[in-house]
Assembly symmetry: C2
Homo-oligomer: 352 residues x 2
């Protein structure tokens, strides 16, 4: 078989490589780097080609493509959401992504993104909290102790200086798992028996539950003045976590309104209810928190630019670490018009 | 490092594997199989979730995602189009694709699709010609002798019984390349010095050129009564190959009107100019060719369902051939809620 040229190879970051990368760099360092990368791209938000994700819905889940481009590089993520998967021993969310060169259209990296999505979601939450939460926030309530919870806790520690997390989940086994995973990582971890107990004394409340349709994870009485709510779990049509009354008294910050209006907590509100785009706060074009007693809400649904930032950062990191394998993914004949001849020559080489 | 579970692995068909598959099955046999697979999916067209491709345009090219689903399986293709790539020694079009299980959202195959796109495009053309061209068609003019030309010629031979191809390209080197590649494959190959010469005596005219914006590859006088035109090259906004007069006297057949109105030859016509969807002909819901003297035109731009059919067929073929490698692409912890713990255990395993 004739050897493919260099152009034919695309670096692939496997799950194993991604885990090694996380361990080699250190999860908190990587969270800080990802938060910085995402913040830098939010600051130049208008440069991006933006579109709501392209979803293919079925009765039991959704498969989505999330593309974006800054004119130099193009990225997209494939991601599914299947709440019933957990009962079958599968991940609710799995993902992979691709970074490509806009000038040639050639992919330059393909990467697992199940782990990377967990990292970038937590890094985005922490970056938003850095801008919106009270400056002296040291305690976070973590409602929902599933696959995303430890990432959220460590990102909030690394980026915002959170010192205590107060865990609650309807399933005590999830809380035990989360507490065990966080042990010895420099956080005070308190396991709580009720959501009211978890929110006590917390300046940041993170909600990240997966299963329920139009659930009310937080009721109005659980949210004191000055709190920052980081609502992660309400992220598709028909799926919300917060009581509407909380939204009505909060300053609401979102990623990309055309997507959040459909998928976020604000699907409970009128379509013209005022919201602020987070990038505008970062770029200095809109105010963030307006006072000590304001309730701020980051209604996070996840946007393609965050994946793009994460893919670019991992791509940069690959140069130092070599944590990838090369895939023979691009047919690259010597004469670009001679694709057929490339196959013929493979035949001759095989016969030889 | 702990071993990933079986669920974590996704079969990957490399360029090398795809070439071996083509050679092992035989290109004409594979063309017939693909044409049958595509026809079967066109027959059940209403079952598919359809959307125009999601394009990200730049000054020099486009990167597109083409998803579709039949409710059981989901497929998408990543494909670029960069006409200037050829001058840099790169492919104008490269592609890869993914097939996934709708029930779980897990990918079941990732495949190179540069070669597979060439195969499915030719198989679709031949399948359309089987339904639309004169039954006794034996001669095809092939205008444009680039990367797609040999695939078109062999598909038309295998599926429609074409015996002679008459080649023309503005670059004689392309014609020489095409003629050399087709030598000894059971086709009479005639190289022509002008497009008028190529179309002489042809019952099928295939146009497949890449470079020009609003070019006129075919003029009205070159198209006699009863001819079937297979217009492959006009496939994005601002790129057409046929003179408008030809369209005005042709029965026009398309894949998916919302996409073809923007990308196909019919972008030259009023938005309500009547066209017939090819699937309707196959399903018996619309007439095909209405008489011996009718000019029929398949205004092909390529649609996601054709890629889906091709991916499914290759996936079936993988079982017999074993021509794939397994990628550790899906993070799959023993407890789906314990993604973080999977990373921790990888650390422990590394330290051991």
């Amino acid at each position: 078989m004739t050897q493919p040229s260099r152009q034919a190879f695309v670096p692939f970051v496997s799950v194993d490589h991604m885990m090694r990368l996380v361990l080699q760099v250190g999860i908190e360092t990587l969270m800080v780097e990802l938060a910085d990368a995402i913040e830098a791209d939010f600051r130049r938000w208008p440069e991006f080609d933006k579109t709501p994700r392209v979803a293919s819905h079925s009765d039991i889940g959704v498969i989505e493509l999330m593309p974006t481009s800054d004119g130099q590089q193009y990225g997209f993520k494939y991601v599914n959401g299947h709440p019933g998967n957990m009962r079958r021993g599968l991940q609710t969310v799995t993902a992979f992504g691709v970074l490509a060169d806009v000038a040639t259209g050639y992919p330059v990296m393909i990467s697992e993104m199940t782990i990377l999505t967990a990292l970038r979601t937590a890094a985005t939450s922490a970056m938003a909290a850095k801008w919106l939460a009270p400056k002296d926030a040291r305690v976070m309530a973590m409602i929902g102790n599933g696959a995303q919870s430890e990432f959220q806790a460590l990102a909030m520690k690394a980026v915002c200086g959170i010192e205590e997390v107060r865990l609650y989940d309807i399933d005590p086994a999830a809380t035990r798992k989360c507490a065990a995973n966080l042990a010895g990582r420099g956080l005070r971890v308190t396991s709580c028996k009720a959501p009211e107990e978890a929110t006590m004394g917390a300046q940041i409340i993170t909600t990240c539950t997966a299963d329920k349709q139009y659930a009310t994870i937080l009721t109005d009485n659980m949210v004191g003045g000055g709190v920052h709510i980081n609502a992660v779990g309400g992220d598709c049509p028909g799926k919300t976590e917060l009581h509407r009354d909380i939204l009505m008294r909060s300053g609401i910050f979102v990623e990309y309104p055309p997507q959040t209006r459909i998928e976020g907590e604000i699907q409970q509100l009128d379509p013209d209810h005022p919201v602020i785009e987070l990038w505008q706060v970062i770029a200095g074009e809109a105010p963030g928190r307006t006072g000590l007693s304001q309730v701020t809400l980051f209604d996070s649904v996840g946007f393609a630019i965050e994946d793009f930032s994460a893919l670019r950062h991992i791509h940069r990191r690959l140069q130092d670490t070599g944590l990838f394998q090369e895939l023979d993914m691009i047919a690259d004949p010597d004469d670009p018009r001679d694709l057929f001849g490339m196959i013929c020559r493979a035949e001759a080489a095989n016969a030889a």
